[in-house]
């Protein structure tokens, strides 16, 4: 990596519940102002990596047992998630986690908990509403009674309300209509370009992720198995076959792939 890393994760191991070893030495760097994608199949450990960075592991009874995580050169393993938010790092959790009893608008406003200026918060709220007009129409309903996609927008919007300098996005596109997915990535690009927000992005939608990010890491079974410039990864044959569904160049119809069974993997 050329630019000075904003976030530097080196060789971390994570154990859940004292016995389940999930990350087996993961290292990655996120440069200031970059968009880094974290790719990998189900259970590869993407979410766990993000949780380790944002210090949300404790609530899952997980712990980082080896390695170090540095933000702007400062060790952050012992900070609380709230401290991290103060330092500008916000995570959008996988599976939405909206505050069920709060309305959409209240959800968004709690996102601005760390901010003082009322005016800025109001402006930010408007900005989120322009990103996601659907939220505006549903602003008074309790989050629990909105549709899955609406909740996802709410979760993303809520994180943006903190005016972060770095966002950890865990599967932002999940459950969103294609148009909105596009929109979310445009927002990412936009914030990155205009406000220099750094993104670390765990994503299943590999083609989208690689299109919008600068750099990518591919994880499998708790290890990083490949990394490189996004553009390079996108043209890598293996990546194309396994993550983009384009083995042999052309995209295969979902109807046809049904016959081929075993996956090929880098690791057994």
């Amino acid at each position: 990596m050329q630019a000075k890393a904003l976030l530097d994760v080196s060789g971390i191991e994570v154990i859940y519940n004292h016995v389940i070893l999930v990350l087996k030495g993961v290292s990655l760097q996120v440069p200031e102002g970059g968009i880094v994608a974290l790719l990998g199949g189900n259970g590869a450990g993407k979410t766990t990596t993000l949780r380790a960075v944002s210090n949300l592991l404790k609530g899952e009874r997980g712990a980082v047992t080896k390695g170090s995580i540095e933000l702007r050169g400062e060790r952050i393993e012992n900070l609380t998630p709230a401290d991290l938010v103060e330092r500008g790092v916000v995570q959008v959790m996988e599976g939405r986690h909206c505050f069920a009893h709060l309305t959409i608008e209240e959800n968004l406003l709690t996102g601005a908990y760390t901010r003082k200026s009322k005016g800025e918060v109001a402006a930010n709220l408007e900005k989120v509403y322009t990103y996601f007009p659907r939220l505006k129409t549903r602003r008074t309903s309790q989050a629990a009674y909105t549709s899955g996609g609406e909740q996802q927008m709410c979760a993303i919007g809520r994180a943006l309300m903190a005016n972060p300098s770095m966002v950890l996005l865990d599967e932002p596109s999940m459950g969103l209509a294609p148009q909105i997915v596009q929109e979310v990535f445009d927002i990412v690009k936009d914030l990155n370009a205009r406000e220099k927000v750094t993104f670390l992005l765990a994503e299943q939608n590999t083609s989208m992720a690689l299109k919008y990010s600068d750099y990518g890491y591919i994880m499998e079974s708790g290890r990083v198995v490949m990394d490189g410039q996004a553009a390079e990864l996108a043209t890598n044959e293996d990546v194309k076959e396994f993550y983009l569904g384009m083995g042999g160049g052309e995209r295969k119809s979902f109807r046809d792939v049904k016959s081929y069974k075993r996956r090929k993997r880098w690791l057994a």
């Binding site: 259970g43 659907r134 927008m153 999940m174 299943q204 569904g245």
Partner: protein, 269 residues
């Protein structure tokens, strides 16, 4: 879609209308989730429902399987018309379902989760189950065998005894499907079964759905945001937008419907 593909679809004998939704309207307070929706589902077909977020797709499924009671309209299943049904009745009639926001039984293992899908078919009573004598045990074993087939089919053998809460999201989706399959349903309602998966996993999932559809002739109603999937595997597509139906037809028809393009697909692709 190529012609060859249509041929495969045609070879599967798409039959009579099995499920007919007539003029369903559903509102929550001021929010109109569904307005006067009608469509039908034919036996053995794969029927997709698409639409932007909050269009009312999940609500539609909820109406079909009795979680929500629509204010208006009726649903005809195999010739019988219902205004209100409770979930249990629907299940007995052979409609199974997966959920958008995973609704697995978190404290139970994968095996047990799928076994619950067999519960409707278990005949032995409480006392026999407590004593686990002959028939009860044989019955349990029979169902276990069936469930093992499903586990094999979905390739989750390794996680048989893992509590589902500890599985990664994608596998949980598979277990959800397994549970529905265990009911040996005639109609399978799938709510975004492929969300949060990468292409390869989606391919697997498609394979499961197609296999079920092919081999058991199960009718599938599918909600999905991935247009690739929808266009490739469904026979007909309903498009909802803000609770209204704005399109209905074969994937090709829908793809070219300007209203649908405007509301959902967008022009970029």
């Amino acid at each position: 879609m190529t012609d060859a593909e249509h041929l495969t679809a045609a070879r599967r004998k798409v039959g009579e209308v099995i499920l007919d939704v007539q003029n369903i309207s559903l509102a929550f307070g001021g929010v109109k989730a569904l307005t006067d929706i009608s469509f039908d589902v034919r036996e053995h077909e794969i029927r997709a429902i698409i639409g932007p977020n909050g269009a009312g797709k999940s609500s539609m499924l909820n109406c079909i399987n009795g979680v929500y009671q629509p204010q208006q309209g009726s649903i005809t299943f195999r010739g019988k018309t219902f205004k209100h049904m409770n979930s249990h009745q629907v299940a007995v009639m052979g409609v199974a379902r997966t959920f958008q926001n995973l609704a697995l039984f978190k404290g139970m293992s994968v095996l047990d989760n799928i076994m619950t899908g067999r519960n409707l078919r278990i005949k032995s009573n409480l006392f026999m189950q407590a004593l686990r004598i002959g028939p009860a045990e044989r019955e349990e074993m029979r169902h276990r065998e069936f469930v093992e087939h499903i586990i094999d089919f979905l390739e989750i053998q390794a996680f048989r005894k893992t509590p589902v809460g500890q599985l990664p999201y994608g596998l949980q989706k598979r277990v959800d499907l397994g549970r529905a399959l265990a009911m040996e349903p005639q109609v399978l309602l799938l709510d975004e079964p492929m969300a949060g998966m990468n292409v390869e996993e989606k391919q697997d999932m498609c394979r499961f759905v197609l296999d079920v559809n092919d081999e058991f002739g199960t009718t599938v109603v599918l909600i999905e945001h991935d247009m690739g999937v929808v266009m490739d595997i469904s026979d007909r597509v309903v498009v909802l937008d803000y609770g209204k139906k704005i399109g209905d037809g074969t994937p090709d028809e829908v793809r070219n419907n300007p209203e649908v393009i405007n509301a959902y697909l967008g022009t970029s692709d």
